[in-house]
Symmetry: C3
Subunit: 156 residues, 3 copies
């Protein structure tokens, strides 16, 4: 039961990561609810309760806009990501809302050549889960390091 929930969350997070790593960015907003919150922040700011983030959106439409902007801008050096995810921890589950946390490593491959460990951290999530659906209603991407590349471009 709890097992099933963790595995469902892991499968969903795996599909999410695969979507980004494959470069299918247009599919990325589809993992979220319409009125979702998506934030990228640092462990330090998260611990202090700061609401701001390096990236911030409060609707799926904003995520769609972000992808469009990324596609148009296209000024940054070609890069791809590779996510690796840990096992989700279910923190709270009430009705159809599930709070969880999932650790991640993201490697970045720049210019098809150089590989570096770009970011580590955890997703602090609220999912809306029904038997037929599983959507991210809130995802706070809490990065362990505060040293953000000015070129944070692809979603995490």
């Amino acid at each position: 039961m709890s097992d099933d929930l963790e595995l469902r969350l892991l499968r969903n997070a795996t599909a999410y990561a695969r979507c980004i790593d494959d470069g299918r960015l247009e599919e990325w907003p589809g993992f979220f609810t319409e009125h979702c919150v998506y934030r990228v922040t640092t462990a330090e700011n998260y611990a202090r309760g700061y609401e701001a983030g390096v990236i911030w959106a409060n609707s799926r439409a904003m995520l769609v806009d972000r992808v469009a902007a990324l596609r148009e801008a296209n000024i940054f050096e070609p890069q791809t990501y590779r996510h690796l995810l840990g096992m989700p921890t279910v923190l709270d589950a009430q009705d159809d809302r599930v709070h969880s946390e999932t650790p991640f490593f993201v490697a970045r491959i720049t210019g098809g050549l150089r590989t570096d460990l770009f970011a580590t951290g955890r997703y602090v999530d609220v999912h809306v889960i029904t038997p037929s659906e599983l959507k991210v209603d809130e995802r706070v991407v809490v990065c362990d390091s505060s040293a953000f590349d000015t070129l944070v471009a692809l979603p995490l």
Copy 2:
């Protein structure tokens, strides 16, 4: 059901990685079918449909030969790997043939000292799966970076 399949694939990939990371290379070909295909290539070449690879084999016997050559050559600097695998995604399952994809990170430890993130990518696999058996019939190791060390020696 699908869960079980993913977990079976993950368990098998974990045993595969452990075999390499433990240095038990002679056991490595045993994970494959007799007429297997094993290739190591780059994301760029894979996307272009190139069949060639940094490493290429179309039978288990060739994998056995490769291990023998590695043991005899022994000219490269001592190195070990540490694989970490993500959750497999089942892409297609018909009869006893299962198509899947599994992300990986591989760290390399050189001379027992220096650790670097050697390769990231994904296994694009076809497994032959029966209740009693699970073998790799095709494994394309798609590395995200094109910067291959000339010393790619251990299997990935």
Copy 3:
């Protein structure tokens, strides 16, 4: 059955890693039995059968002392870890004692800024498992590299 065991071990190891990565060090000894063994060693020394380790404890009380010392000393540069774990492999299970092995990557974030791949390796474990309890009775942290930072401070 075996699945359940592996998933239980993974869930426990995930909670263990999360405890360290969150900085809740006082909770860390609670993952162990009273008369536990905890060692951090290198692959080279482990292969040679050396019992010594960079860190060594043979009771939970020693782990409690270690945490207290860490909190008091506080002389090292601020750092946090991020663990990522692979799937556990059950090597042997008799009565309530389960032998297993779990691969890990640990990233270290120093001063909240610099991220490096600090350690890779595997936990070689004996757990005491009952329906209601799962505790580490022996954990040998076998690090792939012998290049230990003199500042190994946080538990692995």
